[in-house]
Subunit: 380 residues, 4 copies
C-alpha cells in the first residue's frame, strides 16, 4: 500500500483531463506502489466548466491560471492536458520550478519547441513522460516482450494504420473545446500529430529508429464551419491524411497511414511486424488480442493465432481481474501512470520520456516536410 | 451531480467484493444520478484480510460479523458478495431490517431458499437486485433493444454456451477463499449455478420464459486435493458440465452448454438468436461486439455484420469515453449499479429483481433434476 | 497415369449427379491412380432432362430404367444419386450383380434398410462407399490427423452444428426434383438425415462411437404448398430441426444441432473438440481453415490459431494448386473419389463403407426415437 | 449448349498451363456458351515433360516449337503461359497470323514491349485478353458491382496489399522451370510484375486510373543458389518488395505493398476502399467473402458485414453449386474464360484487354522508376 503522496496539478478538463483524473483516482487500488497520487489542483481558464469538473472528480482545488498552479509549492507534478500549442510554455515553466512534468501527446507543435522542452526537463533534472498510452495496452507490451524474446528474428516489414472516420462530414466544424484538433494554430498538425504520432511512437518502441521517410498528405474537406459561428466558414489547413513509407535503421521497410476518412474504421490503430521467424498483428479495435504467427511450429499446424491478452502472465493483467475478463481504453492510462510511478521508485527512469518523444516529433515533421517537397527526407 | 448519499454495507472481500467496490467508487463520476454511493462499511470474518482490503478501497469502517453490519442504522443497502450458501440468511436478515438488498448470483442454493428470499424482500418492500451483470454489457443491452425494435421477427432458435477451461487440471484444489465454487456445500451447484445461471438470465431476458428442459451433467475430475491440505483428496460433487436443451414459451428451441473443460475458451459466454427476419450473435470474449444478420438487406449484400458497440448511440456508451474506445469487464458492474440507482430514482423498479432471478433459479434446478432423472422437466 | 478404366453407371442427374459427374471427369488429372473412371452411362426416368445432362457431362450413354443400367455388363460401379427412398432397392440389385456400389448419404430410409444393404454388399464382396464427402475436406482430414497424432489428449467435449436457413419461408414448397428433401415418403427424415447425418459421420470419425442420445425435433412450418400445384397445401412431416445431446464411448459429452431455420447461416457445418491438451474448431463456411488451440505452447503466447489448410503438407493439397490457393466444395467429392480408388488399389478398403454408415444411421434413428419418446436412447 | 468449337493452342505447361487446361476442360459444363474450347495443341521445348502433360489434360497434339503452333491453321486462339520474356515475340507472331491472343500477366517485360503488343493485336483486329484472373473472383466482381451501384460515394482511400512469404529462406534458388520468377532476365521484374500487377489491375478496375506514384523497392536476400547448380550463387536483381503511394484521378489516395517476405501471409491479396457512404474490404485468403460497411444503415446497427459471396445473386455463382458452397482458386480462370467467350459472342469485347493491361504495365514501370530515382513519377 502506498506510503508517500504525489501531489498532482493538472491543466485542462477535456477528454484527456477526464481520462487522467480517472487514472489518478484508480491507480492505487490496483497497483502496489510507494506513491499515491493526490488530486491536488486542476487548472483551466473557464471557471464555470472547471468547477463542476473538479467536484465530479474530487480535485481538491482549482486555478484559472495555469501559472499559479505551476507556482504552488504543494504540487509535485504538472500534468499537461491542454491543447498542443500550450505544451511548450507550460512545460518550460514547470521544469523551471522543479516540477515533474507529464505531457499529453504530441509533445509539441514542432521539433524546435520539442527540443527546448527536452532540454528544459533534462537541465532541471525532473522526471518527465509523454502520455503515449498505447504502449501500455497489454497486447502491445506483450508484442514488445515477444520481440525482445527473439520470437520474430530479422525484421522485414512494419505495417501501420491509424484509421478513423469522424471528420468525413463537411458539417464537422473547426474550433471549440473539443474540435481544436482540426485547427492549425492550436493543433499544429492534423492526423500526423494526433494519430500518426501514436503510430510512430509504437513503431520506434517495437522496431527501432526510422531513418528516412517519403510522405503524402491530403486535405479532403477544404473548408469547414466555425464552431459557435456556423454561418462562417474557414479554410482547413491541417492534414486530413498522413501516409508515408519508411526505412528503419534495422533494414526493414515500413508503411504508415493515418486518416479520419476511413468510413467504418472507428479506432483502427493497427500494426503488423513481419520477421524471419514470426509475425505479429495488432488492432486497437480489438485491443485485448494480439495475433502471432510462429514459423517454428511444425509446418502442418502453423497458423495465425489470436492471443487473448487477459491472462495473469500477460503485462499488467495480474493487477486487474481474472483471465478472460478484458480491460478497456481507460486502463491504458492507469497502466502508464503505474509505470511512471514504478520508474520513479526504481530509479529506472520514466518512459516514454520527452527525449524519446522528440524522436517521434522529428519523424512526424520529416513526414510533413517530405509531403510538402515531394521527396524522401532523412529523419534528423 | 448526486444530491443524496446511499450508504453501502458490503459483505465479502473476494473477487466480487473488489468488482463491487470499484463500482461504488466510480459510478458517480460517470453517471448523472441523484444518489451517490458511500462505501460505509464492509464485513467479513477474517480481520487480517479485511482491513487492508477496506483501506485499499476506502471503506470507512469494517465489521467481522455481518449481523452487526445488518443491524447498523447508518446502512441503506446490504450488498451480498459472500459465498452462495450465505445469501439466504443474510438477505432475510437485511430485509427484516428494511435494508435494500443487492445479491451476487446465483440468488440461492436452491429454489426453496430463493422463494423465501423473494418473499422476504417483497414483504419488506425493499429494493432488491441480483448482480447478473452481463445484462449490462452494452452489446447485450443492444441485443435486447434490437429485439424490442422487432428486428428479428419470430424466433426459431436460441443457442448458448458458457465455456471456460480453468478446472481441467486435476491439481486445481477444492475449497479456500476463491475455490469454494468447486464445493457442493458452499456453492450448491457447479457450472449450473456459476455459469449457466448467467446464460439462463440472459436467455430469459432476451427470449422470454423457458418451459421445459432436458439436461445432462458430468463430473470429469472425480477427486481433487483440498486447499491448504494438499495430501488430502476429496470427491467432487458439483457439476463440471451442465448441458441442456430447452423449449421456450415463444415456441423457439434452445441449446445451452456450460463447462470449465473447454480448452482454450477463457470466458466464452456466447449466444445466438435466430429469427425469421434476422439473427444476433454475441461472445463475451469480444464483449464490445454484437454480430447481426439482417434478412431485410438487399439479397446480394446481406451478411453478418459486426457492430462495434462503442458509439454514443449504444447503451451506456455516452457515459464512458468516445466512439472506438472500448470498456471492459468492470464496467458491467458500474452500469448495473447505475441502473439500480436509476430504477430507485425513477420508481420503475430495479432489475433483475430477486423475483426475476427466481425464474433463473427454477430453470437451473429443473436442469439438474432432469439430468439426475434422465427425463424432460417442466420448469415450475 | 491411370492404367485401368473403371466404368461408372450413375443413377440420378440432380445436384449430386452434377457433383459426381464433375468428380469422375477431373480425378484423373489431379491424382496419380491406377484406375481412370469412365463416364459410361447415366440413368434416370425423365429422358428429356437426362439427355442434355448426359451430353453436357460427356456420359457415353443413358438408360431410363436403372434396372437396365444395373444389368449392363460394361458397368463396374453403380453410383446412387437418386432420392433416399431408392437407395435400398438399387444397392441390393447392384450388389447381387457383383457391382461395386457408391451411395449418396444418408445410406437409407431407416436402420432396417441399411442393415440389409450392408449385408448385401458384404455378402457380395463388392467395394462400397457412402459419399460422406465432408470427411474429405482437407481441414477435417487434418483434424483427424492431429487427433491421431495425440495433439488433443483426453477428450471432454464435442460440439457440432449444421445450420442453414433456406426453408424459413412458408412459400418453399414440398416435392419436385430438388425439394424431395422436405417430403417424408421420399427423404425418410428431415435435417436428421440430410444435415445431422453428415455431423454424425464426422463426429464418429473424429471422436469414436456415440453410446446414447437425448433428442429434440421440431416442425416450424406445419404446412407447405406442393411443387407444381401451388394452390394445394400439404402437412410437413419431416423434422425441421434435430437437436441432441450425446455421450460418446470415450467418455466425452456431445451436443448436436441441425436446422434450416438459422437465419444468416448458409452452410455452417461446424464442430469443436475440446481435449485436455488442445482443441479444434472447424466451420464449413470457411472450409480452408482449421482452428487449433495448443495448451502446450508457452502460456503467455497461447491462442487459437487459424491454420490455412492449403499447404503441400496438408491432406490432398499437393494434388491441387500451390499454397495459399484454396479449393472448394466440389473438390471434396474428387478427394473422396480418389480415396475410394486408392482404397481399391491398395487393398486397404474403401471408406466410409456401408458398415460405417450404418453406425451413423443407427445414431440418427436413435435421436428421432428419443425425440419422439422424450427419453434418452442407447444407440444399438 | 455450345454450337461452335474454339481451337486452343497453348504455350507452356507450368503452373499456369495446368490452371488454363483445367479451365478449357470445364467451362462448357458450367456456362451456357456458343463456343466450346477444344484442347487442340500445346507447345513447349521439353518434349519429355510436355508429352505426359498433354496426355494428362487431353491435349490432342503437341509442338516443341511455339512457332509451329502459331503457324497451324487449325488453331483459333493462342494462349501464352510461358515466362514473361517470351510474351512479346509470341503475341506479335500470333497477331500477325490473325489468331486471337490470350496472355498470362504481366503483359510484357516493359512498357515498350507492351505498347507494341497492343498495337499488334489492335492492328490485326484479333480478340485479346490478359489473365488478370482475380477480377473474376466473385467477391471482387461484386465489389465492382457495388461501386457501380453507387454504394460507396466519393472515394477517399484505396489500400492494397499482396503479401506472401515463400522467398524468405536464403535457400530458395534462382531459375528453373518454376523459379524463373526470381530472375530478372526472364521475369523482367520481381513482385512488382508478379504480385503488384494484380493489385494494380484490380485497383484501376475498381477505382479508376492512377495518376502518380512514389515507390520503394528492396532486395532482402542479395544472393541465391542457382537451381540445378546449388554450389553456384548469383546476385538477385529483381525487387523482393514493391511498395508505393498513389494518387488516383478521382482524387483518392492509395497505398500498395507487394512482398514475398511477410511471414505467415500466404496469398494475402487484399484491398480496402473507403468512400463517403461506405467501405469495402477483400482478402484473397478468404476469397468467398467481401466485407462491407454501410454508413446508410441506422447508426446504432452499423457495422462491417461479411458477405458470403456464394448466393445465386452473386456474380458467377449461379453457374456453380448452391448457396453456401464455395468455389476456389481454379474457378477464377474458368470465370475469366467464360467472360472472354461471352465477350466474343456478344460483341462487347474481351477484358482486361491488352490495352487495359498496358495501363497496369505503365503504372508498374512508373513505380520502379520512382523507386530508382526516389521521386514521385507521373504515370504516362
Amino acid at each position: 500500500m502506498a506510503k508517500k503522496t504525489l501531489n498532482v496539478g493538472m491543466i485542462g478538463y477535456g477528454f484527456m483531463g477526464r481520462a487522467h483524473s480517472n487514472a489518478y483516482r484508480k491507480v492505487s487500488q490496483f497497483f502496489d506502489l510507494d506513491h499515491a497520487p493526490v488530486l491536488k489542483a486542476v487548472a483551466a481558464r473557464n471557471s464555470d466548466k472547471l468547477e463542476p469538473f473538479a467536484r465530479n472528480w474530487g480535485w481538491e482545488s482549482t486555478e484559472t491560471d495555469w501559472r499559479r498552479l505551476v507556482d504552488r509549492d504543494d504540487i509535485d507534478v504538472i500534468d499537461i492536458c491542454s491543447p498542443n500549442n500550450t505544451h511548450h510554455e507550460i512545460a518550460l515553466a514547470a521544469a523551471s520550478r522543479g516540477k515533474m512534468v507529464l505531457c499529453e501527446k504530441p509533445l509539441a507543435i514542432d521539433v524546435d519547441e520539442a527540443v527546448e522542452m527536452v532540454e528544459a526537463v533534462e537541465a532541471a533534472g525532473v522526471a518527465n513522460m509523454v502520455w503515449f498510452n498505447y504502449r501500455r495496452v497489454p497486447a502491445i507490451s506483450l508484442a514488445r516482450q515477444m520481440i525482445d524474446e527473439g520470437r520474430l528474428g530479422r525484421i522485414f516489414h512494419y505495417r501501420s494504420t491509424y484509421l478513423q472516420d469522424w471528420t468525413i462530414s463537411e458539417d464537422v466544424p473547426l474550433g471549440g473545446p473539443t474540435l481544436w484538433r482540426l485547427e492549425k494554430e492550436v493543433a499544429g498538425a492534423g492526423v500526423s500529430g494526433d494519430l500518426a504520432s501514436h503510430s510512430i511512437d509504437t513503431a520506434i518502441w517495437l522496431n527501432g529508429p526510422i531513418e528516412s521517410v517519403s510522405g503524402m498528405t491530403e486535405i479532403f474537406v477544404k473548408e469547414r464551419p466555425v464552431q459557435g459561428s456556423p454561418s462562417e466558414r474557414k479554410a482547413v489547413e491541417i492534414d486530413d491524411v498522413c501516409t508515408f513509407m519508411a526505412r528503419f535503421s534495422n533494414g526493414s521497410n515500413g508503411t504508415f497511414e493515418a486518416t479520419r476518412y476511413a468510413r467504418g474504421r472507428k479506432n483502427k490503430n493497427s500494426f503488423e511486424v513481419n520477421g524471419e521467424k514470426g509475425s505479429l498483428y495488432f488492432d486497437l479495435e480489438n485491443m485485448h488480442q494480439l495475433q502471432y504467427f510462429n514459423h517454428d511450429d511444425p509446418s502442418h499446424i502453423q497458423g495465425w493465432r489470436t492471443i487473448m491478452v487477459t491472462a495473469f502472465e500477460h503485462p499488467y493483467m495480474k493487477n486487474w481481474w481474472v483471465p478472460g475478463c478484458v480491460i478497456g481504453y481507460e486502463h491504458t492510462f492507469i497502466n502508464a501512470l503505474a509505470d511512471f510511478l514504478k520508474g520513479l521508485e526504481s530509479g529506472e527512469g520514466t518512459h516514454p520520456s520527452f527525449r524519446e518523444a522528440l524522436a517521434t516529433q522529428k519523424t512526424q515533421e520529416a513526414v510533413l516536410d517530405s509531403a510538402r517537397n515531394s521527396e524522401w527526407m532523412t529523419v534528423d
